[in-house]
Amino acid sequence: MESKSEKLHTKKADSGENVEWNRNIQASVLSRLPSHRAFNSDCGTTLSRTFSRSRHRSSFASRSGQEIVSGIPSDDLLDKLGFPAEPVDTSDVFLNEQPSVLNHQSIRSMTACMSVKRYYRDQRYGRGTERLDSYSRLKQRQQLAWQRFKDGIKNTLYQLELWAGAFKIIEGRFGTATMSYFKFIRWLLFLNVFMSIVMICVVLVPHFVINAPSTFAGSVNVSTSVFHYEAAVCTNVYNNATQELIRKESMFQKVLDFLQGTGWMEPTVLFYGVFYNQTYGGVDSGEDMQTFNMSLAYILSTGAIFLFSLIFIIRNSAKGVKAGIISSDSSLTQYSNKVFGGWDFCISDGKAAHLKHISIFQELQGDLQNQALQWKLARRTFRQRFRLYVIRFISNLFVIVLLGGALYLIWYTNEQMVVLQTNLADQVAVVQFFIQFLPSVTITVLNVIIPIICQKIVVIEDHVPAVEIKLTLLRTVFLRLASLGIMLLSLRQLLEGTGSSDANIIPGCGNKHWLINSTDEGSGSIKCWETYVGQQLYKLVVLDFFVVVIVTFVVEFPRKIIYKRFHEKVKLVKLVGQQEFDLPKSVLDIVYGQALCWIGFFFSPLIPAICVVKFLVFFYLSLLNNCIPKSRQYQTSRSNSLFMSVLLLSLLLAVLPLLYVIMRMQPSQSCGPFRLYSVPEFVFFTSVTNTIGSWPSQVQDVIFFLGTAGFLAPAIVICVLVMVYFIVVAQAQEKMEEILQEQLVLEGRDKQFLLARVNEVLMMFGDMKKSETDVVLKQDFIL
């Protein structure tokens, strides 16, 4: 009886054991696979890969006999099927590797704990020096010294990092996407500091230091040419008119002038008008008076600033573009990306973590729902699709009309401003003040209203959320930059317009609006158009700054306080909700400010310095965290490339008008470093050509050749060819990737097939063996 129940017992144990047995076999086979062994070794997989690659390259003779990396399982039929193999170190390989493959980076990247790393480091660099010849020892020492030097530099840079503490807090509360926004502000801040330094050093310092003749009249010999005479006269008239204006102003007007840039602000270094070619050099020592060629300095600094900005932007966006191309098939990997890269390890705030959990949940759910919807939509009927396309067409049309209307409105207000200014020339100062600010206010108001409308419209168009965001962004960007462009166009129209058949407007001294009527009342006439343009841009910058500050204090602060106090009690408050941090909009604000800076610094050298102050204030205002992080999280990777591309676009927008101005427009003869003409059709660029003209003739020939069509056409053709080559290479590599992927899939299937066969064989063997061990077990029990 005992034996019967025992037999039953052993039988049950048998079947349970059977499953266990099979699982053990499978696990032991899997653990002997080379990939698993490499993974579990001290070096980790990627390091092992480096070694195996280098071993393939080394000659056959020097390969060690033990084929560790290829991992042939022992013949002992997996150690009598009882015990899985110990993961074999590939670290012995590490110790024996040639020094060319190894360096400190390898040690640091080992996936093992510190003591293991230390052991290998000591083994490798401690012992074995007797094996190395003096050259390798020297190289080793050099490597160590270089590593220490680099670490030393990193140490110092780490301390100098601006706002590191603040960034940590932001990261913890808002996550990395918002962090990238603040990093962007900091980067722009440095760019602006660089710009202001250049302008100050090249333009302002000479102006103050070389104080030789303190007025233009003193520095020029009137009898040299008719242009000198004209310049002197015009300057005189302009200065007198400005002094008149300042004298007539009241105290209140003087305050307003600070905001507008007119009146007493006009002849300051803030604007272009006050600079001229100053002379220096020792009269005493008998040398000729040397002139500091302010005009050349001005143009060269402008060119240098744009060039450096371009280089910095391209450097910064190169990384983003690379990542963007690798993940170009982003629709395919979005789920893995969201799951494996979804949690932001920087978050350290409980509330932020909670919000992140919710946002991940909502995003995953939303995406899954979208997927189900898309399957349904793919089976949309023709009628539904037709309807959708009609709706999209109408809404696009509407948006175009809306944008066009907005741009026309801006143009109209610009024109009106001049008309009103002349008509209401004798009105109260405050009215004048408002008229001056009319175009800027229009632009700002439109920039607020139209994005909201666009957001509502895009919902109707029924796109995938990613496309929605991109569309809205595109439209808003277009509006912002186009409004700037229209303003510049209307300015150009004003300053160069041929349509002024108005007999009252008398041109002179390089200015179209030199006199408004023959009695020269003063206000309304533009006697120095560069300063006028500078003033318009200055007004825009000031307005932008004040709008942001005011909005923060008047709208966001109270909203936050009201929400805190009343959101339990008043339902409406809860409905409106808290201010969310709208990342794209904030980025556009910043980029708009930077575009103003780029356009304006030619006409007003101190605008970069103003922008530095503006960005500092923006940063600290944003830090006051009136806003909560947005519930729909924005992805960091896309953010960076977005910022850079919009910035690049605005740089281009800023360069084009300036190019036009420098190449085509005549400077005024009454102000600025370019007031001395040398030919009747003097443009800004002529000063550069004059300078080149004073160089030796061979150099001149080379430089002028560079500008001809004979050079440019082949250059363009070569650039296009290089571009086509790279495009073809990229396409070929994509194809290669597809081929390799298919190969991988097939290899994987092969592996599974083989593993299954191995398992079968082992199980058969195991069954045979098991019957032996069965007897042993039974015997034990009976005993």
Binding site: H36, G44, H104, K154, T333, F340, H357
Partner: protein
């Protein structure tokens, strides 16, 4: 700062600097934060181990849904208790200077809940559950999500992600490097 500097010899600091991605100042900073977790145990012995609970009290780890896995993976004794060297190792991998391949290897170990060198659907399910926090996806949604991920990543159709497949899919995921960071 003087106090913490005297706990380590110059040689030890150089050592740590060579073996991790940190500079000396950063190492001392990490020591300061580590010491704050359990000053008594560490006043006697630099290499004392601190229990996992105390480590998970660190503000940067407190809200992390994977904190227990992190402690387990980086602990040299495998039970979650970490000495200073383990902690330094951990912060070094999470720092900005660590290259992507190192981060990917450790991320794989963190996400591999059952430690069988592959991320199976059970592992994935636990990862997603940890990610969504209190609310959980419905069973069908979860299955659909796991299917989607396997479709994207599992190249050899064995219903689990090996390290190579994980690495491949991460190389296409642009957000990973930015999110897999902890700053002390």
């Amino acid at each position: 700062m003087g106090g913490s500097q005297s706990r380590f010899t110059e040689q030890e600091l150089e050592d740590y600097q060579e073996l991790t991605y940190f500079t000396k100042k950063e190492i001392l900073h990490v020591w300061k934060r580590f010491q704050q977790l359990d000053p008594d145990a560490l006043s006697a012995d630099n290499n004392a181990k601190i229990t996992a609970e105390k480590i998970m009290d660190l503000p940067e780890l407190k809200v992390n849904p994977f904190k227990d896995r992190i402690c387990k993976v980086f602990s040299s004794s495998g039970d979650g208790n970490m000495s200073f060297e383990d902690f330094l190792d951990m912060m070094s991998v999470f720092s900005d200077n660590a290259p992507k391949n190192v981060k990917v290897e450790y991320a794989f170990r963190i996400y591999d809940f059952d430690e069988d060198d592959t991320i199976s659907s059970g592992d994935l399910k636990r990862v997603v559950d940890r990610l969504t926090g209190e609310k959980n996806l419905s069973d069908e949604d979860m299955q659909q999500l796991i299917d989607n991920i396997f479709e994207e990543a599992d190249l050899d159709d064995d219903d689990s992600l090996s390290f190579a497949e994980f690495e491949h899919v991460i190389s296409k995921a642009p957000d990973f490097v930015n999110s897999f960071r902890i700053r002390l």
